[in-house]
């Protein structure tokens, strides 16, 4: 059932692959499931047969059954057969490991550095200056002319793990231990996932969103993201509040004095669909609630409530809404 209904059953179903690593893994998993399924049916049937056939029956002779102590031939048989099965599984597995793990980026591959932070994701596009957070944009990859995305995985603090089940298996982000993985999504769409290595209080709300776009759309997005923020005059008051409170210690807005590195880059905040690492929709109301007290939406996240007045909140929210 899980196999057939695919993405309808769940947007994070590992059996609805849309990218080469996930597809290759699915192929291996079908082999493993077939073999283990056959073993299960065989042994399950034998166990059922033994339990039913050799049960104690009322009225039958109560004498002890014949004592059998063992048989070298039988032992040999049920040693050799499993050894052969293991050999087949092992060879099939190492092939897939090599295929996925030793893949080299072709020319034209997109390269992104992913940095895990306590409860959000930072994305830095290696060939441009684009820095964004929580929502990864990549171009669709035509199998005939693949444009895969290669990800370098780093961590700023504790261990995390990058897992978008429909695109690839998971790879951990470990401080002081750079890792890499790659994806080549074949279909346009939004792919979901989340951190899958326990990283602290809000591990559960460290969600992953990968937007797979047609190449022209992706290029346009990249160009827009590489521009500095354009402040509208209407948001000048909010900008002033932002730049004179502690906000700037953690957040960057390119083209302004704000260059903190601890929290997500806000230069194009409004271009994102979500805030709070994918856990809250990015609407003006939610943004205002978040700035007022992030702990109410995501208890234990590292952004504190700044104790701003209502007018300051309105001003900052207006400023944030201008960051397109």
């Amino acid at each position: 059932m899980i196999l057939i209904t695919g993405p309808i059953l769940s947007p994070t179903n590992i059996f609805a692959p849309a990218s080469t690593p996930a597809q290759t893994i699915q192929g291996l998993s079908f082999l493993v499931l077939t073999i283990t399924g056959a073993i299960f049916l065989t042994v399950f049937s034998l166990l059922c047969y033994a339990v039913v056939k050799f049960r104690e029956r009322k009225g039958r002779d109560a004498a002890e059954p014949a004592q059998v102590y063992g048989s070298a031939q039988i032992e040999l048989a049920w040693t050799v057969v499993p050894v052969l099965i293991v050999a087949v599984l092992f060879l099939a597995t190492v092939r897939v490991i090599a295929k996925i793990q030793n893949a080299e980026p072709p020319t034209g591959a997109i390269k992104v550095t992913v940095i895990g932070h306590q409860y959000w994701w930072e994305y830095r596009y290696d060939d441009s200056k684009v820095v964004t957070a929580n929502e990864l944009h990549v171009p669709v990859s035509d199998p005939a002319h693949p444009t895969p995305t290669f990800l370098t995985l780093l961590s700023a603090d504790t261990d995390h793990s990058f897992w978008v089940p429909r695109l690839a298996g998971k790879t951990d982000l470990i401080p002081n231990h750079p890792n890499s993985t790659w994806i080549d999504p074949h279909e346009i769409g939004l792919y979901l996932g989340q951190c899958s290595q326990y990283c602290g209080v809000q591990h559960a709300k460290m969600l992953l969103r990968v937007y797979v776009e047609a190449r022209p759309d992706f290029d346009r997005w990249l160009t827009e993201q590489s521009r500095p923020a354009v402040a509208s005059d209407s948001a000048a008051q909010g900008r002033q509040v932002f730049e004179t409170t502690a906000c700037v210690n953690c957040h960057t807005i390119s083209g302004t004095a704000a260059n903190g590195k601890f929290g997500p880059d806000l230069t194009h905040l409004v271009s994102r669909e979500t805030i709070a690492a994918g856990s809250v929709r990015n609407t003006p109301q939610n943004l205002r609630r978040w700035i007022d007290n992030p702990q109410k939406l995501k208890q234990g996240c590292l952004m504190p409530a700044m104790g701003l007045s209502d007018s300051q909140l309105d001003a900052i929210t207006a400023y944030m809404e201008s960051l397109r």
Binding site: S29, R55, D159, T171, N176, L192, Q197
Partner: protein
């Protein structure tokens, strides 16, 4: 024989002051009393761990539930894992080993009775420290903070930077102390099996339970030592400025993983091998046949013990090892399926042609065979590294290892409780309640752990205090939680049955199962010295020889 007066704490006996009885139990060095202390201690912690699991399951019954805060949920899964492994599973198995090994090899006590008591009290103190963290966890900042770093406590989350206060210290110290207790008991079991066997009991005639516990004890010495070392290194990091796991000063988070899993995987077999031992004693008796392939069973056990020392990094397929390293651990992990499969086949062959009696201990062992088969097969799926890249740290893994620990180990353990309860207490349990316990637990177990695989396949990671709606996880989590309630009810029936039967059950006699090993030759419960005259054995089933003088085993072995 059943009329031998109860030697301690007897039901109808002398009314001694409670203080005197307690004093006897606290100062005892008798292997049977220490075994029972271990078991009672473990049952207490099983209840604690069960309550923690129930809190988690209520929180996860629907998406965005707010039964508990994220902080509390994270403490619950840390405490649940640590409690169940270190303070429920290990002590209860040590308890049975303590109680049974000397009786089954015809000895009057363990080799080092005082070390035995010392080890138990170290483990008990470790358990106390873990739960004292609820009061003392945050020291000056206030009470109510248990450890929240997960039961494998990955670095650098355990460093002072990320784990303020003292909750991680309580975790470290409790695991450290219980580790010292475990190593003490393991050394004791090894020495006992090697040097305390009764006349005639060669290694080839030793009951499988003794062989398997010997292997388990060897694994404990090899596996707990690196864990204990790692805990010391963590304390050095936290308090003496060490940098073993301090990634901001060049330390390595991955080294902690290696230290932990070189303990963590053999640990699975530290728990599973004694469970295999129970099955290897119970299945023959209730099939009325000798164990099939005794030498092969011993060899398979030793092979499992040996291979289990080389599989640990299959817990680390996602941390970015080289393709060659991944390949090695794929092979070693798959290889362990071979001796494990041999064991299942031998138990099957033991039942084949027998006369299977469905008493409660046997029901639990049959449940074990079916469930351990599935647990082994999901283990093979996880051993295929690329498949593991999808499944690792998902609910599929949680379902898999609960299938091993609950479906495999806890089921045989329940079997062991019912099988040896008459020996330990001198009284029979209630068979109907035992069967009710079995069926309720089977229903609960399968509702919970069969359906728990599915959200894992659908992308749900473990250790999340809540989840998003619309991922297709809701229904499965609801079913899993309902199953947990069935299991809870079954456990209450189990405890009630044992408690009631302890004082009101009918007398058991020395050999209620018509069994074949030495513990059934002495009174129930056995006197302090176990055997008035040390037995002398000529085969693996001394009581069979006694009951069938015309056709004794030593004609064939």
């Amino acid at each position: 024989m059943s009329t031998v007066p109860l030697t301690y704490d007897g039901a109808a006996s002398e009314r001694r002051p409670l203080g005197e009885i307690l004093h006897e139990w606290v100062t005892t060095v008798d292997h049977k009393r220490l075994g029972i202390l271990y078991i009672l201690f473990a049952l207490t912690f099983l209840v604690f761990g069960g309550i923690e699991a129930t809190i988690m399951r209520i929180q996860l019954i629907r998406p965005h539930n707010d039964f508990v805060s994220p902080e509390v949920f994270n403490r619950m899964f840390t405490m649940h894992g640590t409690t169940m492994i270190f303070f429920a599973a290990m002590p209860v198995l040590f308890g049975f080993a303590n109680y049974l090994v000397p009786l089954m090899i015809g000895a009057r006590d363990m080799a080092f009775p005082r070390l035995n008591a010392f080890s138990f009290w170290m483990s008990a103190f470790g358990g106390f420290l873990l739960y004292f963290s609820l009061l003392g966890g945050n020291g000056l900042y206030g009470a109510g903070s248990a450890p929240d770093v997960g039961w494998f406590a990955y670095a650098p989350l355990t460093s002072q930077t990320f784990s303020l206060g003292h909750s991680t210290d309580y975790w470290t110290l409790s695991v450290l102390l219980s580790g010292i207790g475990s190593i003490g008991t393991a050394i004791n079991i090894i020495a006992t099996v090697i040097s305390m066997r009764c006349p005639g009991m060669t290694l080839r005639r030793m009951p499988l339970l003794a062989w398997l516990n010997l292997t388990m004890a060897g694994l404990v010495v090899l596996a707990i030592s690196p864990l204990t070392a790692a805990q010391l290194m963590l304390l050095i990091d936290r308090y003496l400025g060490g940098h073993f796991f301090d990634t901001q000063a060049g330390g390595s988070a991955v080294i902690w993983m290696h230290f932990f899993w070189i303990f963590g995987h053999p640990e699975v077999y530290v728990l599973a091998i004694p469970a295999f031992a129970f099955a290897s004693e119970i299945i023959p008796v209730f099939s009325r046949k000798a164990i099939f392939g005794y030498p092969v069973m011993v060899a398979a056990t030793l092979a499992i013990g040996f291979i289990s020392m080389s599989v640990w990094a299959h817990h680390m397929f996602t941390v970015g090892m080289t393709a060659a390293s991944n390949g090695f651990f794929v092979l070693s992990t798959m290889a362990i399926a071979v001796p494990t499969g041999i064991k299942i086949f031998n138990w099957l062959a033991t039942m084949w042609g027998g006369r299977i009696q469905f008493r409660t201990p046997m029901l639990f062992c049959i449940g074990f065979l079916f469930q351990f088969l599935i647990a082994g097969l999901t283990g093979i799926m996880l051993s295929a590294a690329p498949f593991d890249w999808q499944l690792s740290n998902s609910y599929f893994v949680v379902a898999h290892f609960h299938y091993v620990i609950v479906g495999g180990i806890l089921f045989t353990l329940f079997g062991a409780f019912y099988y040896w309860f008459p020996k330990m207490s001198g009284r029979m349990y209630n068979e109907s309640l035992g069967k009710l316990h079995f069926w309720l637990f089977v229903i609960g177990f399968h509702l919970t752990f069969d359906f728990m695989h599915i959200p894992g396949l659908l992308g749900m990671p473990r250790r999340v205090y809540t989840y998003e709606p619309g991922r297709g996880w809701d229904l499965w989590n609801l079913i899993v939680t309902i199953g947990a309630l069935f299991q809870g009810a079954a456990i209450i029936i189990f405890l009630a049955n044992l408690l009631w039967s302890r004082w009101h059950g009918p007398a058991a006699g020395s050999d209620p199962w018509d069994a074949w090993t030495l513990e059934w030759t002495t009174a129930s419960p056995p006197p302090e010295y176990n055997f008035a005259v040390l037995p002398e054995v000529k085969s693996r089933r001394p009581l069979w020889d006694l009951k069938h003088p015309e056709d004794p085993d030593w004609h064939y072995e």
